[in-house]
Symmetry: C2
Subunit: 386 residues, 2 copies
Amino acid sequence: MKNFVFNTHTKVYFGKEKIVDLSKEVTNYGTNVLLVYGQGAIKKNGIYSEVVEVLNKCNVVEFGGITPNPRIKMVREGIKIARDNKIDVVLAVGGASVIDCAKIIAAGYYYEDDPWDLVICPGEIKIVLPIITVLTSFGTGSEMNGSAVINNEEEEEKIGTYSPLLQPEVSILDPVYTYSLSADLTAAGVVDTMSHAMESYFSKDKDTFVQDKIAEGIIKTCIKYGPIAIKENDNYEAKANLMWAGALGLNGLTGAGKTSAWSCHPMEHELSAFYDITHGVGMAVLMTNWMRYILNDKTVDKFVEYAENVWHIFNEDDKYKKAEKAIEMTRKFFDECNMPVTLGELGIDDEKFESMAVNAVSNGLLTFAYVPLKKEDVVNIYKMCL
Amino acid sequence: MKNFVFNTHTKVYFGKEKIVDLSKEVTNYGTNVLLVYGQGAIKKNGIYSEVVEVLNKCNVVEFGGITPNPRIKMVREGIKIARDNKIDVVLAVGGASVIDCAKIIAAGYYYEDDPWDLVICPGEIKIVLPIITVLTSFGTGSEMNGSAVINNEEEEEKIGTYSPLLQPEVSILDPVYTYSLSADLTAAGVVDTMSHAMESYFSKDKDTFVQDKIAEGIIKTCIKYGPIAIKENDNYEAKANLMWAGALGLNGLTGAGKTSAWSCHPMEHELSAFYDITHGVGMAVLMTNWMRYILNDKTVDKFVEYAENVWHIFNEDDKYKKAEKAIEMTRKFFDECNMPVTLGELGIDDEKFESMAVNAVSNGLLTFAYVPLKKEDVVNIYKMCL
């Protein structure tokens, strides 16, 4: 097991009506609050009113309109509003796009130059406004970690950044707040949660048994509750398990003591950057093709572990058949979640495969991944997804 | 899933030679350091020298001699020394007894009356000196939570207390620091870790799937690495997995969203209070007898889950037989760890069963446990252990 630092300090209030705890936590940091939100869903489903009501003693400055795959230009705008209003604390109410945007606004508040610097050079993040989140989606884990993914449209880049300073001080996770998610977005959250656990799970590191058991547990939670939540949007227990699994899936637990280079996320970030698709959807298309591509004599034992512990495939002696069966069952699970199988279904052809592959390798450190991937490998995997 | 607050803010430095990070963390809080330690093992195995060396810029005031099942009188003594030396930060170097004692010293520093009040009324803990730990054992999880267990010899009481304020700011977990543990203490740590996961696992709460998967993962880690670590004290991977499992086993992960009343711990705390035995050893004698005692139509399904997911017992259709087989395998595992089977082996007879049972029920809230236990039940379970 490699050395690591584990520092998940976010205080999580989890459960029904936990919004009542928001006010005392916000006012720990001040009363000038920047309320960052998305494209208005929270105004329709009542969450906005609940938040504004509990913050009736604060000066709430609104900054709405954050889109999925949040743009750096919105970050710039948010920083200006925050500075003009001498904001004390940034409150993100929404899913990951809103939270990620809020994080870079909070970091950019104190940074004199362009905030895109903070995305590409997270070492420049030295001081950050306190960040509080009220989650209305699940899967990215942004509510409990220091990661943020931001799009730079002009450069056609989508880059993930990380600093422990970006970790929210407090996050409120009420599974009821995810009831109004569409079935598609619920499915995307399920796949995203699963994918985080899997990126850590498939690694060269040996003897990270306890971390791998946690990853398997998170994946199994998705398998058990994903299809239920997609069908019954108001199934509390399904949503609660998924919401908590989503937070635990990327708060450091599954990756502790392991090499941190991932495989599928860098490839998917390029798809979202170039085509503005939902991250979890892109992951569903990529993941099983990536698995097929990297299955070889060096990786087959890990796939056998995955097959046995996650999918309970025991009645098969041949290692490769076992591995292939596990990949097949993963794909079947994505089908059950109504996820697309091909890039074609997302309106993506091979036109930009070369450019995306170049970016994925350089931005995503793919040469350090579980199975190191060069540009040609990435193009091959994209082609398998056609 | 019940509502919960999850707030594990301890920053963990995990791995070889992580002691190098101690100085910068300690001096965040000041330079007057109270170094709390046990009965001198750290002077023999070199850990003491390493700690003192990295703290060469601090004023280190020593307070050694903490015994297992730490006494309230040592806490009182420690508070006096801390006050006399205007201590800024309490550094515990040792196992749980040392850490637990250090926690109540840190809380008692600011408390005007007798610190035993803080053990029996944790609500009185309002302000605490910062606590930093360097762990030399594993299993209690005290390095990453707000719990402390203290003995009051005069009253023949051993009581567990809890306050989020007792949580260490920083803990350093170097698996190498556990190499000098005896095989017996290693085994006790394994059983203790397992027992924490099991106390949370066996609960009335349904639909805490992700928490239960984590608990199963921790139990399996003990099963896989426990016997290796007992035989090979310097097996880094075994010790690393156990040390990390021990921390995760009681930092809130397995108990989140569940009723917190436990079953075996209150019964064992009485054994340790009356007979000064090692906690993990007492747990090994009690646990499988408790399991046998509570196995009934209401609990059998949970035992079947335990049998299948932890012990992979599938070739048995009868629920009760499956449950009994799982209990038997748990007992066999304790045997493999060279744990005693009976209280007799620990020199304990039935003389104090009644008094211990009265205390266990009143101090340990056993009437709220998974299967509620009255005084008579506790006496019956103690008798099964003879």
